[in-house]
Symmetry: C2
């Protein structure tokens, strides 16, 4: 069946636990590859080149744009963020399911370019739990909390553009659920055109 | 999340093991309900009313058609076969995933009427295995085998109209795979509009 990897975009509310789920998924199963973004923002302490990000100058980044070396990119405040194409295509060809952890605008751009992309949206189980996670982290200023609520409102508007909603209630179960959904996606007919064509052809020869 | 059941149509090549898979699925998990067809053909020895089929006279069946009491129906040779609507809608409302085991023409009619229907196609793992199962049952006449091959050719033409291809290689694994795919489908965004709308509304109220 389907030997090529699936391109997977994971988005979700701030505090939904995307990062943790992805880390667990990669630890537990070896069919996944996590795409690393390129950015022009300065590395923070502890952020390693090629692990947290590929750190680029603005000039380098704009050359990557010009050469179409990015699947998608965006500018936030004064910094570029984008997904380098080469790693993604190499890993897909090698049969890995490649995960991009990006927000909705990027997700929709990727889906437009690669219609077979699988879009997953991670959410806490209830609105009140989302609110609790957004507000009650303790240390943040009101400004940060307001910013998060504002972003959550925008993100919620895009939820139905995603293929699946993943409820992050219990981490272990959630990781399993994501894995099973992706396994199931490998069985989609449109991802198995070769198998279907082969079967049609051979049956015609009978 | 999604509380309503999913309407599932299962089709597949003769000899692919549909019946056995469905039987195991129903034995193992209690969220499924198997729809029983109505037919005008005579009961065969051992076929019980309401289990194998609902046996109807032609007159009764045509009244069901006239009253729109069937989700889909078709005539083969001189007999009608169809899916009574009431059982299906009752079970869906009760939160059961309802399985119809019907062939492609019926499957497409159901999908047209109920676009959220999940279409599963069961197939042996390879063309040669399909051929083996079609030909090598031992007792059948050449006429029966030819008939099966002809049907398989037709069925193969419709494979890509189905949502998923299920490979029946090992029965236990196949049953698990079907169950997981259906579980995953419950997480589809379009099946969780209420959850999404609720989240949007409550976030707007912030």
């Amino acid at each position: 069946m389907d030997k090529k990897g699936i391109l997977i975009v994971v988005s979700g509310f701030s505090g939904a636990g995307k990062g943790t789920i992805m880390k667990e998924l990669l630890k537990k199963y070896d069919n996944y590859a996590l795409s690393v973004s390129a950015t022009t923002r300065k590395p923070r302490p502890g952020e390693e080149e090629g692990i947290a990000y590929f750190f680029k100058t603005t000039d380098e980044f704009e050359k990557m744009i010009a050469k179409d070396e990015l699947i998608e990119y965006a500018k936030y405040v004064d910094n570029y963020y984008g997904t380098p194409r080469m790693y993604v295509t190499e890993q897909l060809e090698a049969g890995k399911d490649v995960i991009l952890e990006i927000e909705i605008q990027g997700a929709l751009k990727v889906k437009e370019k690669f219609p077979d992309t699988l879009l997953l949206f991670i959410t806490p189980p209830t609105v009140s739990e989302l609110r609790r996670r957004l507000v009650n982290r303790g240390t943040e200023t009101m400004e940060v909390i307001e910013g998060r609520l504002g972003r959550a409102k925008e993100e919620a508007e895009g939820m139905d553009r995603y293929d699946y909603l993943i409820i992050n209630d219990k981490l272990d179960e959630c990781v399993e659920e994501v894995h099973r959904i992706i396994e199931g996606e490998h069985r989609r007919s449109f991802r198995n055109q070769e198998f279907i064509e082969n079967m049609k052809r051979e049956l015609k020869g009978e």
